[in-house]
Symmetry: C2
Subunit: 126 residues, 2 copies
Amino acid sequence: MGIVRKTKSVKTLLDVFDHSNGALLSVDLVKQLQPQMNKTTVYRILERLEDDGIIHSFKDNEGLQRYAKCKGCDSSQHRDAHPHFQCRDCGKTECLSLDLSVPAVPNHKVDRAELLLIGQCEDCLL
Amino acid sequence: MGIVRKTKSVKTLLDVFDHSNGALLSVDLVKQLQPQMNKTTVYRILERLEDDGIIHSFKDNEGLQRYAKCKGCDSSQHRDAHPHFQCRDCGKTECLSLDLSVPAVPNHKVDRAELLLIGQCEDCLL
DNA sequence: GTTTATGCAAATTCTTTGCAATACT
DNA sequence: AGTATTGCAAAGAATTTGCATAAAC
């Protein structure tokens, strides 16, 4: 449902996602967009975009919220398996296109899985 | 290296781990042990126990730190694949004994993997 | 007796909330 | 016009830091 109004702020944020890759820290987005955009506004737009299935989010290795553009998600189902890779050196966090098979757990209902790989990225391997 | 002194506080914390199952929130431990033990003390003991390979930690679905007793870790290598299951209803977080095969990522060095399954636990499935 | 651990208060960091003002459709 | 959105200030929650005191080896 397109309940997210295309305000200037929303467009700005979507533009940031289009021109960057990987999963972005909400904290960084807040910093980057200040003072043109208020901190609260950034958090709330991210929340709305996620509700609308435009972006997805997860907690990274530091417990910080990260957002990335969804590929193949919609508002009804936007929480599929999203493997991510986080570099322990530079912190850069990438979305992986790996197909994650969600293991079954006896007597449990598994809705989704978050797989975070931690290591060194291409740039930091040198 | 047994650099962790067996103080009363340390023993208390180890006792909590022995008498509970699943991965415990540092926040809850702090609450539970107050006011006998100071907040800072709890955080610091947890940190030391993890350094020593007695317990391991990860960020849960809410980005909160959780700790659980290690099985088969030591101070040199205590960060192996640790799949966990977190109940979206009651929040209970269990350690799974599943063997997680860490996928390779081209041009990256993967040190470890955090797999968190989210769903409903046995108790909450009724 | 030296080193490690603890307590306390204060600071930090990320995120959320309430409410009035504003922009979108 | 009516509803969704924004800004600002303040609150909240989890975790960390500095420093003086106390306990462990």
